[in-house]
């Protein structure tokens, strides 16, 4: 993965995009990078959509991943994120807000920002739209570019891979060109 597109320690990173745009694949890739280094990560799963099978295929050591299921309660998800970012030692806290991102007061966004800086954890927020505004150091938007099918005959029998691209919405203190496209195998 492009090193500029990974979550930054001590900062908030946001990935936004619609359904099937590749944001969850990007999230799993970030989690895989972290636990692959032997570090510990946590995933706050608001809508309980995390698929352990996909994560295992993405190379994630599930033993190093704390999975918090919030039963579609966004307020609980935000409170869980607030607790976890105050626990030093986690390398990455991922907050998957799903398809309904709540309104977050600016004070709460700043509270998260300063907690993240104090514990030097990377907070990655994934959703259909942005949550923390200017508190995020990096904001990315994922877009789907194409789909490849595969099969022995004229009719495809399975999904082969999906190509996505990333658009940088906000990058505090860094100059970005257009990141290259990514291929995600099914």
């Amino acid at each position: 993965m492009d090193e500029r597109l990974v979550p930054i320690r001590g900062e908030i990173t946001e990935i936004v995009g619609g359904l099937s745009s590749g944001r969850t694949s990007h999230l799993l890739a970030c989690l895989g990078d972290v636990v692959g280094r032997g570090e510990t990560a946590a995933l706050i799963d608001t809508e309980e959509t995390f698929d352990p099978g996909s994560a295992t295929q993405a190379g994630i050591d599930l033993r190093r991943l704390l999975w918090v299921r919030c039963g579609s309660n966004r307020e609980i998800a935000l409170r869980a994120a607030d607790m976890l970012v105050r626990c030093p030692g986690f390398a990455l806290i991922a907050l998957d807000l799903g398809e309904r991102v709540p309104r977050l007061p600016t004070t709460m966004a700043f509270r998260l920002k300063f907690a993240v800086r104090r514990t030097d954890v990377a907070l990655l927020i994934v959703g259909c739209r942005r949550l923390t505004g200017s508190s995020a150091a990096l904001a990315l938007e994922t877009l789907r570019e194409g789909i490849e099918w595969a099969g022995p005959g004229p009719a495809p029998t399975h999904l082969a891979r999906v190509r996505t691209t990333t658009r940088v919405l906000r990058a505090r203190g860094a100059e970005f060109g257009r990141p290259p496209s990514s291929w995600w195998s099914a």
Binding site: L19, S20, A55, D61, W67, G71, A80, R144, A155, L159
Partner: protein, 524 residues
């Protein structure tokens, strides 16, 4: 070489209370026995009516006093009024059995941390077999200092004596001028000769007999002919003679620690607020943790038992998830558990017992990745469990099955060893015959619907053509799977990957047993 040590804590009932309330240590303190009722004989204390209508007054009797109170003339056996007359600044506390029992156990455990062979000599007294300890600790004085250090760590102030016998060691502890007194081998009789006979704590009639004979010191008692003592006083006289000579006649009875560790606190008032109860829990946990730390143990489970004003008990098992001996995370976990399961009535007694285990002490590895500190992790996991429920928290583990979304949840306990890829990257030794694995693949993720949503699907032949209101733009499949046909949980399905008219790329599946279609989730 000295063979025995005696640890003596004077005025033990008062010391046990001071252990619970260290601020009392420098102030005159008397322990009162609240269970003594006597008829009212004209005192000015508030009378109460008994069942027969006669008046009776509750007289509080002093059963113990600390050194500061004794300096001002307070003695056991005095009534509270007499004690307060002699010492107007006297503080009093009722005698609580749990305080004394906890302190007694704590003293024995502290002694056990120095020697594996100890004997319970009664409240405030512990004997240790010190044979062989000189090779571990040093000379007898060093052993004594170690004992003083261990006992001070649990909140008691001891005096230690070391001698060739338990009796001589106790005499040395009781009469020595410093915290540690060592009687050299063969010097027991000479050292104890000038000690007053009162230290033997003899029966009153026997002590009176020796007083009439003019025997005032242990040396004078030891000089009496043994046969004559046996003829006139019988076995008690011989026993007193042995004590004066510093001889042990009773066998050494080794003490072993109880199977559980408990600290308790009785309360003079009822507590109906969790905030106030937290303060009491912290005090009890501090004592328990000091005991555990003194012998190098940690706890993995706490049992919190609350005595209720209604007469019942409220017991909770608090699993610590990670063995620890630190007060703050233990307190947080206990409070969170009690918040979730509050006691049904006001609390009048608190008891906490720990299941102790021994930790494996080891140095952290050079390649060990950074991870949350155990105490932080335990605390945040407990808070999260209270927030989302314990079932919704943990690490997923895939189940060995082809069934869709087959996984189970385990308690989160990240491994401490570094990941294999990280060991390679940092140059840790690797076996040459094992090729390095390829980098992690970039795989498309599935966002699962839980539970899978039933949908209406129109088909063209076998292939799906419309899902609910959306046309199917492209599709691939079927991926046929089945399993557990030998059981009542048999399943069989055809999976399709489809692109819908709104651009969503999703996985749908047809249950071949029922013919129903389900939306498994979205590729994202």
């Amino acid at each position: 070489m000295s063979r025995f040590a005696c640890v003596l804590v004077e005025h033990f009932d008062a010391a046990a209370v001071e252990r619970c309330e260290p601020a009392l240590r420098e102030r005159p303190l008397a322990i009162l026995n609240p269970s003594v009722d006597q008829p009212n004989v004209g005192r000015e204390s508030a009378p109460t009516s008994n069942r027969n209508g006669a008046l009776a007054a509750r007289i509080m009797t002093t059963i113990e006093a600390n050194a500061a109170a004794r300096e001002q003339g307070v003695r056991p056996g005095m009534t509270e009024t007499e004690a307060r007359t002699r010492c107007p600044m006297l503080l009093t506390r009722p005698w609580v059995e749990e305080h004394t029992a906890s302190a007694r156990h704590a003293l024995l455990e502290a002694a056990l941390a120095v020697s594996p062979r100890i004997e319970d000599g009664g409240a405030g007294v512990a004997y240790l077999d010190t044979v062989g300890l000189e090779r571990l600790i040093g000379d007898p004085a060093a052993i004594g200092r170690r004992l003083v250090h261990q006992v001070r760590a649990i909140g008691l102030i001891p005096r230690v004596g070391l001698a060739a016998s338990r009796t001589a060691a106790r005499m040395a502890a009781a009469t020595g001028s410093g915290a540690v007194t060592v009687i050299p081998p063969g010097r027991e009789r000479a050292t104890l000769a000038k000690v007053p006979i009162a230290v033997l704590d003899l029966a009153p009639d026997l002590a009176a007999t020796f007083g009439r004979w003019g025997v005032r010191t242990l040396g004078e008692l030891a000089a009496l002919p043994r046969e004559g003592l046996a003829m006139r006083l019988g076995p008690p006289g011989l026993r007193a003679h042995d004590l004066a000579l510093g001889l042990d006649r009773d066998p050494f009875r080794p003490w072993t620690p109880p199977p559980f560790w408990e600290e308790a606190q009785g309360l003079e008032w009822e507590i109906d607020s969790l905030g106030v109860l937290a303060g009491v829990l912290e005090t009890v946990l501090e004592r328990l943790c000091r005991r555990l730390a003194a012998v190098g143990l940690v706890a993995d489970v706490l049992e919190v038992r609350l005595g209720l004003a209604s007469g019942g008990h409220h017991a909770r098992d608090v699993s610590l998830a990670y063995p620890m001996s630190e007060v703050k995370p233990m307190l947080t976990l206990a409070i969170l558990d009690l918040e979730a399961h509050p006691p049904p009535a006001a609390v009048i007694r608190v008891a906490i017992s720990a299941h102790p285990i021994r930790t494996q002490v080891g140095q952290g590895g050079l390649w060990q990745p950074p991870a949350p500190a155990p105490r932080d992790l335990v605390t945040v996991l407990a808070r999260l469990a209270a927030l989302v429920g314990a079932d919704n928290l943990g690490s997923p583990v895939l189940v060995d099955s082809h069934r869709a979304d087959a996984f189970t949840m385990l308690a989160f306990s990240p491994p401490t060893e570094p990941a294999a890829s990280e060991r390679r990257r940092r140059g840790a030794p690797q076996r040459d015959d094992i090729p390095p694995p390829p980098p992690a693949p970039r795989r498309l993720a599935l966002r699962r619907m839980r539970p899978a949503r039933r949908v209406q699907v129109e088909t063209a032949g076998e292939r799906p053509a419309r899902v609910e209101a959306w046309l199917v733009i492209a599709s691939a499949g079927p991926w046929r799977a089945s399993g557990e046909w030998w059981d009542q949980q048999a399943w069989a399905r055809d999976e399709w990957d489809v692109v819908l008219g709104d651009g969503a790329l999703c996985r749908i599946a047809r249950d071949r047993l029922t013919g129903h279609w389900y939306l498994d989730g979205f590729y994202d």
